[in-house]
Symmetry: C5
Subunit: 384 residues, 5 copies
């Protein structure tokens, strides 16, 4: 069971955008049968106040647009095709926007339409229990007096923005472009805790790979590399999208907001700097892993070789005198066996052989203090 | 027989564009003797209706162009040089287009001619039985009131487009540029199932490389890398071609269609993102494979070393007392052999030596619980 | 002798452009003492006819230019400084062109001069007997009514162009720019058979590296990588030169020819696509080679370990009962030796020990069917 | 304890920019509770003189701006939010500048505001005791008649600039843009000693990896790579910032100063050249490490193999004649044991076997002078 | 002593630009205490003649400028700050030029000043005795009617240029820009012999790595890689500088000279092509080195395994019959010892066991002809 869960998780990493059917007509709002139930939340605000409502109908959205300077509609869950279609009609969304909003595996991008700006971002967060990276598409449509956001699942990283609308003056005095900026900024800022967790994982793996370079560590390194690839696949196009947003050309973004978006772009570049550093480190870990294994094999083989080279000649000597040549049959046949000091002589001989072999091994630097300080390939490097 | 089939398949991966003869005059429609028989299918349509005919003659094509606003001619199989030449004359194709259409190993590209646009794409699909990737050139000529497509073999990924012409209004109300978009979009969308299969292959290889790192797995990884290279060789120029199509400069593409082509370009970029991720993963698999082999060698050598280091000293001791020095000849000659407790003493001695060696190995962490917590192999990690 | 030949071949791969003396004045036509004898061939043609002459004098060239609309002068062999100088004077070549024509290790390039275009390309072909790649500089000077080509050695890839002048109308009706295109196109097209051979070499190496990963295979892979580097060093600048040729800015190239050059550029990009694929594959082969060696070492060590671990304990037991403790001297001294069933007991004991050890090895998965299906790191993966 | 210290140090390497809360309103001056106490130093100067004051109040800053042509305010330590806010108000800093000044993990960058230029650089220096690289953000705000600098901690690399203000004429005759240049130049120049130290570390590691390739060396290489990554993360964006500064477009930078900034940009490019060289070298060290380990394993295994192959056949012979077949029971039972020259014969036999084995090993080139000069894979390469 | 020399040489490779003090005022002509003595040489020339003088004073330089159309002043050795300052004043050098001229570790670059062009190049040459690459900064200042060159040490690669001034007409008829070109061209051309030597080194290493893959070879490969890095650090910015020189924008360069500079740029690109090829080859050598070591380990281990697997069972058998069970005590106790054909039977048994083991090893393909032709992983591939 745990295993099948693990399979499912992996599968998701590779989940691939798939429209209704390859080749279907664009603009088809094809709802995923496994999508979460749709809930529409609403913020209407202006410099003088705000209204916040949950689970509203599309009709209420129309009223709100009429009565407040700026309206933010947040759609969570994409199961109810009817509600989605009515909202799309209210905001006059382009067929391609309708399609991209429900196909939740878009690359982050910015698409200017006649009087709207369509921004796709990807929220990243850590799953509660650990290292797993969760991600979710956040589609933002910025219009003259509204912002509509669509997300796949309940739960998001936008609560600080909501809090700022409730409490604060500055955001309420700015236009909808500033709200869109605030949303994108919240998304980008949430990459940092995710990256911090990656930093910790890689540090832990660094220690582990030195202490215990086995297949499990290898699996963890590979998993980290894969997770980094996943984040990277979102972070790079997000940077490009932010670069486009902070350029001069978009009519719906005021110059004041553009300065803030440039700052947000800087953060997205920083995200990528860190990502690439982590990726390099993870790659280096693989190389170190191989080196460590090689190191340990050396250790193991050195022990085997030391034992073998010391005892093999000794055993040969004992074996020699275990031969059954009959000293009675001939004076040439192992007369040592009857020498008075035959046995002590052999013992001393063996001691000598052992000492010689050990000396040879010691000079090779395979044993004792020398194993660290005087290796064979550089025999006299004591100044170091 | 299976082997020669495999050879042929491999050969195809490397199949290289080869015109009639290197250096031949351009525009020579040199038919491949192995080409499939030519079949010309026809769609004539307008906002108010459509006609669909199969296996028509070039003359019928001329009639259709005259009577319908938009004509789509699909040519399957490139064996009949006469039919091809007559069609090329009807649509006044440039000599280079005539040549590229039959040389079915072009890179995807876009070439604007005076009043035509020549688009080469590459269809990808999975062979029925498994992992093998099949690909086929689809050449599209877009004119003022027609689209002509050429393909090498029967069978394609364009049925959804045909269905949309039969059933749907939107495509019938748009111009031939929208039809061309629909064809290209269908081609790009069909890359996703192919990539999904790659994702599954790589996942399976990840499990296999940890569980069973042998030469067969190695061969599969290499095969996957090679297949990815093949898809990549089509995907990158296809992305460039789509970028060119979605730019402002082409006269035959209306602004409305350009928005759709931009979307299609986004999909082609996504294809490349996934491809490059898979390629990185496949490369990492090779590294992991080496690490796993190293790991296993460590395991094997540890077992050998443990057995050897424990038994080598013991065997030396037994061998020692197997020497035939004659205790009768001298009191120095192995008096132990006649001690009352000689044998038990030796047994205890050997037990001691074995315990010492084992202790040494245990402290090295090569065996038992220590092998889990300090050093290398960590057999049962259930909390993770 | 074969060896010195091999050395010479290698040396040539690294042959480095070397002008008369580093720092010499430009424009010095410094003839290589080893250059081939100079032979000047001539084509004069127009829509209505052609003349073909071999081994003509510079004076004849002047006549031909005067009498035919287009003249193609082909110079083979660069030994005769006098002839070269006279030709250079006839065609008023720039000092740098004079120099580059005889220094036959230029990178492919395009250089526009006042009323001439200087194109350097590199012909590639396979040596008769096998894998060796031969290359030769082809310098093309395109003027208002002539094309001059210079090559180092007799023999080239331009015969199809000659044939087209002799037989065909289209090339005779076009200007000298079309002739220059035809020459460049013939050069680029001849890369494909060379690449096809590389494809076959790499395929053969793929099979060899799996079947027989030794030092000879390693050498072949390295040789293939080196040959690919060589072709690559010609192919990349050739692509750049073709890109420049197919751009708008050159006065001597007519728009009609430019379309053909664009096609030729596409082919040069395809050459590079294939080259880079082959390079990746060759690199992967090196990695696979290491893996295969590691694999085989594992195999070898497993056999050693199995034999050793089974027999080492057994030999210890036999060695134990080979000790010469005197059962007469004490009842504690190896009483087993005189037991009635002593020997059978020991045989059974050894059988038991062997069975235990074998069981241990079998459970590790190092032997028998399990060695493939039930490896130690993944003990119960039968669903796969 | 030492270890936790080490952990903390590592943690710092990965420290990630984190604003108050992800998604918080921009411009919030959120002071780090661990920040150093704030100290404001002051330079007022003009062509005719200067004043230098330490630990001044914001009010004194206002006076100074009024009375001197150019004012340089240096803020060390960012703990006192009140002082920071008052200074920010005096200099009318943009909310984003206020925020970036206290969030001391910005990437180096240049941001033009209406009449100010905001420059973020990163100072690098070596810790006193050794290899550790210390870095600190230096934020520079350049206005019409002032420069404000903010740094996280006391101690900086700017003393040469202070000295030049005190002693020298040239800087006092130039505008505030020249002061900003001098500060940036001092920062960039201090990268060179840091890089020199890296050069020494890598050299030492090169010697170590050849002499003693163990896990400790491996750790040091990895640490060097990681430190290089850290410096690199500062150096690349710093180069980009300097490129922007030396471009034409910024109003606050005079053409004369721009020439100096171009020089400073050249230095930053040189920093990157060296960094990338070091990175390549560090990567090569990892590869060499693996090679060296492989080399040593070869050595170890050769010794084991030589000992084993020589003694294993000998021990077999001795063991053979240790069998207890009863020569009395049959004339076929080991009659050698009673031969007159049985024992000498066996000794000679063993000598012969040993000589043969040794000869085999010697021919393989595993021993003696041949181990260097005549390796097996190239048996007769004496001409070299 | 040799070692400390080696250290010094290495140190130089990493020598890092260091101005007087980091952060010092720009334009300080801070003379290196180890600099060579200053010697000023002079060429004055025009179409009609030339004058060449050695060791002139600054005053003589002023005279020469007044009397000849073009003056070339070459300064060798940078020890005499007074002379340098006077020359700098004569030619009105910018403070940054004064500084860069004496800090001889600049990157190659081109800097346009008001009416001067400052070009920094790096001369490369081989040390007399061998592989060591020597390099030296050559700073060129091009003015309206003069060229000043500064070099660190006596000895340069400019003699061919001097010779051309003495003998030849063309350079004397051109402007100072042509002289500057001739100098740069001489510098670039001298890279080719250096590269040729690299080609030879890499070829030699290729042979060595196959024949004798040990730590010394490894060190040589690493050294070659490091030397290539050094050359590369000069070659890349030199190419960029030449690209800038051959562009249209510089006032001091005439169009005629620009054509020559473009040619020189082509050579610098060729230098980089070769450099990068060599770098790839050197990297491949490291990989091949590891493979070769792995290969040899396989060889060694195969020998050990063959000896062990053959003799271990035999020794077990002999050891078995060396047990001392008393046949007198029981009919079950080793009755074989007293069989008539006991000994021959055991000998035959051992022969059988040895044959079986050998057969197993032979089938594995570890021995004899099969070791090359019939490897285990591909048992029946004879058609290939």
């Amino acid at each position: 069971m745990a295993k099948s869960g693990q399979r499912r998780r992996k599968r998701r990493l590779y989940r691939i955008q798939r429209r209704t059917r390859p080749g279907a007509a664009p603009g088809t709002v094809a709802v995923d049968p496994l999508a979460h139930a749709t809930a529409v939340d609403l913020f209407g605000y202006g410099p003088d106040g705000y209204v916040e409502e949950k689970n509203v109908t599309p009709e209420r959205v129309v009223e709100c647009i009429a009565s407040w300077p700026i309206t933010w509609v947040n759609v969570e869950g994409l199961a109810d095709a009817g509600v989605l279609r009515r909202l799309a009609d209210i905001f006059r969304l382009h067929p391609l926007v309708r399609e991209d909003v429900v196909n939740v595996h878009q690359r982050p991008k910015v698409e200017p339409y006649e009087d709207q700006l369509f921004i796709v971002t990807r929220m990243m967060s850590l799953a509660d229990q650990g290292d797993e990276v969760e991600h979710e598409q956040l589609s933002i449509v910025l219009g003259r007096n509204f912002v509509v956001t669509f997300q796949d699942r309940p739960g998001d990283v936008l609560d600080p923005v909501r809090e700022r609308i409730r409490t604060g003056a500055p955001i309420r005095r700015s236009g909808p472009d500033h709200l869109a900026y605030a949303l994108v900024d919240a998304v980008v800022d949430h990459y940092f805790p995710v990256l911090e967790r990656f930093g910790e994982r890689i540090e832990a793996l660094e220690e582990e790979v030195i202490a215990r370079p086995d297949a499990i560590t290898l699996g963890k390194i590979h998993q980290a590399k894969r997770d980094l690839l996943l984040v990277r696949r979102a972070a790079w196009p997000q940077r490009d999208a932010l670069a486009e947003l902070s350029r001069d050309s978009l009519a719906l973004i005021s110059p004041a907001t553009r300065v803030y978006l440039r700052d947000c772009y800087d953060h997205s570049v920083q995200v990528i700097d860190l990502l690439e550093s982590f990726r390099e480190m993870a790659s280096a870990l693989l190389e170190i892993h191989v080196s460590m294994l090689s190191n340990r094999l050396n250790e193991v083989m050195k022990v085997l070789t030391i034992f073998s080279t010391i005892f093999i000649p000794l055993t040969f000597v004992t074996s020699l005198y275990g031969m059954n040549f009959d000293p009675d049959a001939s004076p040439w046949n192992m007369p040592e066996l009857r020498w008075v000091y035959g046995y002590p002589f052999v013992l001393v001989l063996m001691l000598g052989v052992a000492a010689l072999t050990f000396g040879y091994i010691y000079r090779k630097g395979w044993v004792g203090r020398a194993a660290r300080l005087r290796p064979e390939s550089a025999p006299s490097r004591d100044t170091e």
